[in-house]
Amino acid sequence: MGVSFREVTKKFPDGTRALDRLNLEFDQGEFIVLLGPSGSGKTTACRLLAGLETSSEGRIEINGKDITHLPPRMRGIGMVFQNYALYSHKSVFENIAYPLRIRKVGKADIESRVGAIADLLQIGNYLHRKPAQLSGGQAQRVAVARALVWEPTICVMDEPLSNLDALLRLHMRTELSRLYRRLGKTFVFVTHDQEEAMTLATRIAVLRDGKLVQFDEPRTIYREPANRFVAEFMGRPAMNTIEGIVRDGIFRAGDIACPVDRPEGPVTLGIRPEQVELVQAGSEDAITLAVDVRELIEPDTLLIFQTGAGALTVRTQKNCDHIEVGQPVGLRFPREALHYFDASTGERLR
């Protein structure tokens, strides 16, 4: 029992195909993150689930029931919007109470429910204010409270944190995580931020050009990206991907040469910046390159090299104070850290 998208396609009047035969299935009680760059169809998928858009083809089911053509209010879904979409003319209390008033909940019941959710989200002190008098973080909490107060089975969030400043974003992220564990509801969360996805999700659905690219637990997505796109999308700085050729068990591309367990032929090699090892320049098996740029991101250091086959980024926790720009450094790619992708399709190779 859960939510399923079956062959869902969404075409807009202007001809864009936002979703292309999307298949996605998950259980109640999960925290699902729809992740992708802009234009990947993640917001469309979430609006289709909420009922704000209708799919052109395919079906959406909740607990086995076809809801494709059900109006939003009959789906039991609460929603948090990117720009909060609070009612500017109503007080915070009335904003949160609105879904309850629509559902003709009794006066006393409204008071207690709004009070309870306001306490949970720590906005009890602002109930009399108008949305214009709230900070971004407070407005965000009100929007969440409004979406949850009537106890929907699913809570949909469309990039809810993207309008907050960096510090607040981290804080709200933790809060949402706590809220999820406490309420045990189904959350569907849309974002383009891979870090948010990694920290919040029980499972991440990576979308690209309206198609599902990979749907897995965060750890799996990070460790075994299904293709080059996912590999480069997850993790910051992005995974190094180097296009080259394997000959005699050695992968070569520009100034890079390293032993690999691959058959002959072209392949794209991937390695995460933090998994490249720094060794003595000129030592055996090491690739020796001159440092192009050095960036300090305490406590780590980023070293960037030009390889003749694109830039190579290395992230290290070692003290690099003695390394100057232009100085040659030895690098080693550990075999267990290497990813291989098909040179033409970009698909992961086993």
Binding site: M79, Y87, S88, I102, W150
Partner: protein, 307 residues
Amino acid sequence: MNTVKQLSRGRFLLDRGASLPLLLPATLLVLVFLVGPFGYMAYTAMTDLSYANPDQNGAFIGLDNFRQLVRNDPVFWDSFWLTIRFVVASVTVEFALGFALAWLIWRFIERQRLLTTLLLVPMMLAPVAVGLIWRLLLQGDFGMVSYYLRAVGLLSQQSAVFSTPYLVMPTIIAIDVWQWTPFVTLIILAGLMSLPKAPFEAATMDGAGPWRQFIDIMLPLLRPIIALVLLLRGIDAFKEFDKVFILTGGGPGTVSELLSIYAYRVNFKNWNLGYGATVAFMVYLVVLILCSIFYKAVYWKSPVGKV
């Protein structure tokens, strides 16, 4: 390469205090040609000046004219209440019709440009021309509209609209509605078009149907624009002169003598300028009050916000 010539200070003499010479002409013009005469009028209102009576050569009589106007001038009060009734009736009907039309256009018509442009015709015509057109249309013997009104039995055979006293004001109101409903439509439509989508989507997710969304979301969001339309139309209707002057000249008798027309009659038919100034002053006062409401309540809360 030559070095770039550095600019000297001389060219920037106007920088300091540059705003005063830019602002002064406008302020002066208004002061001299509007405030000056207005002050002169305020003074005249306190004299007995009349071109019709050689004995009244402009002696200062204090507030006698105001006292006379308020206490002993039933014609003024009739005219005042007539104007109020005219304003309330025409603005109410224009608003109801205009809002409905705007909503229909907003909801159902994708290519609005041509439609709204054509709708604008009545309100862009010179008000004098509007009076003229309707005078012709409602002419007793050969008026086109009179003919069709008779054909459907709304007007009796021998009568004409403007010689039937009880029909005069309703007709003038109807013509005002014809002329100004497009104004309401145009502005409300602009308001509807500028409505944000998000609150309506939020309300949809909160479970509100179309009617609840209209009452709970759309009307409150449109409130500043609605207030604006009502006030602008109210102020304009209160000043009404041109159309009525051409259509009836205030008659028959004083049946359609709105305040502006009454002020005109006292000043330029009776040439009683002292008393006429008093009437004009009172008209201005009412509009000034409406005007400050417009400014305080509407402008700074408008969608444009504080500039």
